[in-house]
Symmetry: C2
Subunit: 229 residues, 2 copies
């Protein structure tokens, strides 16, 4: 019997690659997107396109209005930083940090995992992103896994042993892109930008656009969303 | 300076007592209710009444549609069990269990706590309820606390050290009610029933109603919601 996995699918480059990796490993995919009031809503539409392309078993978009709490440039009226150098990006935790985001996302993934009987959860955190985000670090991921195995009926009754997979955690953006291309990922479907223009057009200047651009350049591949670069 | 605390306030008897305990301990209260598609929506209205009565600093109701995932009598079309004996209630994990509920709730409380600068989170789990609910056990609570302290910008930067308080965990329903009455809690404001009738009238037969009824009886006090009993 095919094993089930829940994939947190934002519709960005990383989570799309993660979904392709999980599929290549033989899992049946349940993809979950979280609408948390983010400004870059083109992500949610991208996630639907990616889920369709991968022919997943079930795709869910769950709404949780984290924007009510405030505290992040991704949901608040705080300005998204533009044109920052790599050094600036490696500095303190950026204002684009969303309070407890991965904890909320993984909790929702855990709820879905329990309902569908999936023991495996996939999350697209990686070394480049976790420069400043505490909830992208391996020690955080392990602590969540420990908690999850104490949290649910399915794990306590011994039917499921949860495992949080972070296949990108030690990969550079270029390695992620190369792996995705090997697996046939169509990055034209994805959306990365923190502050996109009409029809999801990337701003090209936020941290996310810059990291993506640099990744494609280092991989020696053209980005279908910014083909002129 | 007064310390802030986030209280998960369902509007039920337990969480209302917890809020009163936190206030008596000197905390400034931020109360959080989660609208997760529960059938017993009178809880959410009760939480607003309780928050007003306690004059909390801020009350938030956050929406997260866990009902989409299915899997629980509290959100699904599964029938709520009625008229069960105490022995039956002490049996296997009941169908009223909501997948990963406390994990989702605590994650949202953690997000709010980080935004408002609160290090203290209060949750009304107790020994009677945790008969079958894995996410009401002390080992689960400690694992969540460990994870939380690795999860957020505020904790990683050393500004906050999260603590999850579960003041009711070893108390019987009768002890909880007596403590609440000492603190001046008006239990007429609360809502306990899993399957209430019009205007939040308790069904008197679900597990929650039966535990409440037994608690008031053992405390030797009348329940303002079921005064004839």
């Amino acid at each position: 019997m095919q094993r089930q996995a829940v994939i947190l699918l934002s519709g960005g480059l990383d989570s799309t690659t993660v979904a392709a990796i999980a599929q290549a490993e033989g899992f049946e995919l349940y993809t979950l997107s979280v609408d948390y009031g983010q400004r870059h809503r083109c992500e949610l539409e991208a996630a639907v396109r990616v889920a369709e392309r991968l022919a997943v078993k079930r795709h869910e978009t769950i709404h949780v209005n984290l924007a009510r709490f405030g505290g992040s440039a991704l949901t608040d009226r705080i300005e998204v930083p533009k044109g920052r150098s790599g050094d600036a990006m490696a500095g303190p935790i950026p204002v684009t940090y969303v309070p407890a985001r991965n904890t909320v996302f993984l909790s929702l993934a855990l709820a879905l995992a329990e309902v569908v009987g999936a023991a495996d959860l996939f999350l697209g955190v990686n070394a480049v992103d976790y420069s400043g985000y505490p909830d992208c670090r391996p020690e955080y991921i392990r602590a969540f896994e420990t908690m999850a195995n104490l949290a649910t009926k399915a794990s306590v009754e011994g039917r499921l042993r949860y495992r949080i997979h972070t296949p990108l955690i030690d990969m550079t953006k270029a390695q992620i892109i190369r792996r995705g291309v090997e697996l046939g990922v169509d990055y034209a479907l994805t959306c990365t930008c923190y502050d996109p223009g009409p029809r999801g057009r990337p701003c090209r200047r936020c941290d996310a656009c810059q990291l993506r651009r640099k990744g494609f350049a280092e991989a020696g591949l053209p980005d279908p969303l910014m083909p002129d670069l």
